[in-house]
Symmetry: C2
Subunit: 205 residues, 2 copies
């Protein structure tokens, strides 16, 4: 199956700017993208990057500089079902979690993200369109219901964690199996387990 992976090539991960330089944020975004593409490929599917600008990538890249929702819906207009759509910053993704997404029943399968987002979709119904941002999980469920499209919610932790905020880096360091996790370690980040939920800190040495 073709799996669309939208990618913001310009200003990724702004909510991590308290921790990373702009250069580090770009590097992290690239590694997260590579990890997602690698997981899709390992699961036996064909990743297609939908980027806001040209990028260097060994997988097919289509460029559309419109906002996320408009770009994805234009791609859905032009392509046959079934397709998958997954965010580019799922730092815990594995081939197995992609397989679970694509094997679940339903006209549409949604893997929710923390905080009410939609991190990944399997879309089998031609009438379904996306509407990202501002609580998209609920919006997608309601829109599908209004059209009589069946929706399955996938119970996946690996697909629920997108890398937006400092706390998300903890999950990458604990559960990530790709290059982003290795890079965080190489940059000197380590887990701080001193209180409640773990946090990350950067080693000063």
């Amino acid at each position: 199956m073709r799996i669309l992976v939208p990618f913001d090539a310009r200003e990724p991960n702004t909510r991590l700017s308290s921790i990373f330089s702009p250069e580090q944020r770009r590097k992290l975004a690239e590694l997260l993208l590579e990890d997602v593409l690698g997981a899709v490929h390992s699961a036996g599917h064909q990743p297609v990057v939908l980027a806001t600008d040209r990028i260097d990538c060994e997988h097919p890249v289509e460029v559309d500089d419109r906002p996320l929702t408009a770009a994805v819906n234009a791609w859905l207009d032009a392509n046959a079902r079934p397709v998958g759509i997954t965010m580019a910053d799922l730092g815990l993704v594995t081939a197995g979690s992609i397989e679970r997404l694509l094997e679940a029943d339903g006209d549409v399968v949604i893997a929710p993200g923390l905080g009410g987002g939609t991190n990944a979709l399997c879309v089998r119904h031609p009438g379904f369109r996306v509407d990202y941002h501002r609580g998209s999980y609920r919006k997608h469920r309601r829109a599908a219901r209004d059209q009589g499209i069946s929706v399955t919610t996938l119970d996946s932790f690996r697909l629920a964690v997108d890398i937006d905020e400092p706390a998300d880096l903890v999950e990458v360091m604990l559960h990530g199996q790709g290059e982003a996790a290795e890079w965080l370690e190489s940059e000197g980040f380590e887990l701080d387990t001193s209180d409640g939920r773990c946090t990350v800190r950067q080693n000063e040495s």
Copy 2:
């Protein structure tokens, strides 16, 4: 299978004190416990509450006022395998997620919690003991490896979200299927989708 549900009957949910009164925190803790017990029961298993003090409950309650790790390990010493252990504050739990936990292969199955914790376990090996707090997911994996005990990590969003912090309430309101979700609505909480990840706010009216 018997599923142990440790419950802090004295001072639950202290990290939610910016939002709730002590009375509300106790009420929320009770409803979350009821939701967990209900999910275990619906999945066809036998919940056993391990409480720090006597509580009113329709399911069996054993009282042990020692800290969590000591109390759970004493219970493991005294009871046969296999058993499940699940935290009492998993506000997204369903019978289906309990079934997935208990059906996964492995001497020990771990459902990790956000921030490096261990939210639920299926323990089939008699040698495994728990060590909660301060990054217990890694500690449990390492301890098992050192003893030659096989570990499976369960990819479950529903079991990954324990209700510790205000952001977790968003997940209960979005995905919870029990009494805790209903109670939050009845108390006037609603989702704020104005920026990035949703948050909760309390209706002033």
